[in-house]
């Protein structure tokens, strides 16, 4: 015991000079006995008890998450949509009011600055939700790209706490504490409503591979909403869930995590997510030229491809471990963990195109000097039944 070879959530840590920030639910987490962790400058719950139990609760019943570290940026003004069409790779002006999109913000060279969810709240108002570790970068980039547009970029990171309820029981639980029409709320849609008597933006989004909701509320109302959902979920098996199970849930669902599958060294096409880039929008956008070349390269001569790996044995691959075949390094693990749903270790990895086809034989992972056999599979590892 003693030496941790990898810190928790390695790769997502940043060098901190200040004490970590605490969310509006900090005292609640401590009262629940949470193990806390520094995540992108925030002191966040890693797990409350068993991360495996938390994972399974979200897959089979419901889990409650504090995601207040996520970075909200509001864009307002008559040309808010036009600004986002220019600044992001998606076509946000075509998104209907009350709907959301998964999209990305890229550099001029096509490198990914962050992946985002953008909600269109009104004709002239959008909310961009960035990863905590990138929120400042995204804010700076949007601000730098705004001149010339009749639109305002507003830092709303402190304006919201974010509480998620995820899992097959989440709809029933949330219904009992809201007047909003959840049955009319589609996946990737959001509407203003009231939860436990307080104002909330209710979105049907998540990062778990399950049905679920994300509730943006005022920080002062966060405890009220958390406690109401805890109470409402008691009979349905809802439990509080930390970032550890959030990571295994998104990994099983094949969802990328910035700093692992996504980085400034990769374009959306390199990451297999070229579909988020909308070349057909009739305007120029940051990165267009480089991304057109990246699309061509991914089509004709992809350097490496993102694949799923499933262990034949029980040793767990971690981010940064080498993928090997015939004694040569053919790729690198970006995320790896024991999968509670599959009952064995799984990983995402970038591997040479020659070894990327599902079923490719002879692929292994170098786990601290020992080559362990792995099966190449198509992502995701888990898909819920609808």
């Amino acid at each position: 015991m003693g030496r941790d070879i990898r810190p928790p959530l390695s790769g997502s840590l940043m060098i901190m000079t200040d004490a970590p920030r605490r969310t509006a639910l900090d005292a609640t987490h401590r009262a629940l006995g949470a193990t806390m962790t520094d995540f992108a400058g925030w002191d966040m719950p890693l797990r409350y008890a068993s991360e495996r139990d938390e994972h399974n609760a979200v897959r089979t019943r419901a889990g409650l998450f504090d995601l207040s570290h996520m970075g909200e940026i509001t864009i307002t003004g008559p040309q808010a949509g036009e600004l986002l069409d220019y600044a992001l790779v998606g076509r946000l002006s075509a998104v209907g009011v009350g709907r959301a999109r998964y999209t990305m913000i890229c550099q001029e060279d096509g490198g990914i600055l962050d992946d985002l969810i953008v909600y269109r709240l009104a004709d002239h108002e959008y909310m961009v939700v960035a990863n905590a570790s990138n929120a400042q970068v995204v804010l700076d980039a949007l601000t730098a790209r705004a001149p010339g547009f009749d639109a305002e970029v507003r830092d709303d990171r402190d304006a919201y706490a974010l509480i998620a309820v995820q899992g097959p029981e989440s709809s029933g639980i949330l219904k009992s504490v809201t007047d909003a029409d959840l049955d009319g709320l589609k996946y990737y849609a959001g509407l203003p409503g009231t939860v436990a008597g307080v104002s909330a933006l209710i979105a049907r989004t998540g990062y778990t591979g399950e049905d679920g909701f994300e509730l943006f509320v005022r920080p002062a109302d966060a405890v009220t909403v958390w406690e109401a959902l805890t109470e409402a979920g008691k009979g349905a098996g809802l439990i509080p869930c930390g970032l550890s199970c959030r990571d295994t849930l998104r990994l099983e669902a094949g969802m990328p995590l910035y700093g692992h599958e996504l980085s400034t060294a990769l374009t959306p096409f390199d990451a297999g997510l070229g579909r988020v880039v909308k070349f057909d929008k009739p305007v120029d956008f940051v990165g267009r030229k480089a991304l057109e070349q990246a699309a061509e390269r991914a089509e004709t001569a992809p350097p490496r491809k993102l694949v799923g790996l499933v262990a034949q044995g029980r040793r767990v691959p971690r981010a940064g471990y080498e993928v090997v075949a015939d004694g040569s390094v053919i790729g690198e693990i970006t995320s790896g963990a024991p999968s509670p749903t599959l009952g064995k270790p799984v990983a995402m990895a970038y591997v040479d195109a020659a070894h990327a086809e599902p079923g490719t034989a002879g692929v292994g992972v170098d786990i601290r000097g020992s080559h362990e056999p792995y099966d190449v599979v198509a992502l995701p590892f888990y898909k819920r039944e609808r």
Partner: protein
């Protein structure tokens, strides 16, 4: 979970039982198991191996981390717990009992093993 009085403890969070039939049992403490989170893989020394106090003799993997297992004493391994290899969750559910790791015939031990009270104070900080 309190630390059993009859055991002694290393600063690397292993526990060591009094010798029984010439061999002492080794495991990791509840404090360590809790810090690791759900243990999913355990690699142990083999029967007949010689382990050396303060040196690594195996590893424990949890969802989020990998940790080395250090031998708290020097000696020959006389048994390993196959149950914990098959079901690593035993380390979390019963660290001082069913989650024991291996038995060792002690030939030498360092002078700095802790009593239960000393270990409790050591981990309180």
């Amino acid at each position: 979970m309190s630390n059993p009085e009859q055991l002694r403890y290393s600063k690397e969070h292993e526990w060591l039982s009094p010798a029984e039939d010439g061999a002492s049992t080794v495991g990791i403490t509840a404090h360590a198991a809790n810090a690791l989170g759900d243990v999913v893989y355990v690699q142990l020394p083999e029967v007949g191996d010689t382990v050396t106090a303060g040196e690594t003799c195996g590893e424990l993997e949890s969802t989020k981390s990998v940790s080395d297992l250090y031998a708290p004493v020097t000696g020959e391994v006389t048994a390993v717990n196959q149950d914990v290899v098959d079901d690593p969750a035993l380390v979390n559910s019963a660290p001082f009992e069913g989650g024991w790791l291996f038995k060792v015939r002690v030939t030498d031990e360092p002078g700095d093993l802790l009593s239960a009270d000393e270990y409790t104070a050591f981990t309180a900080g």
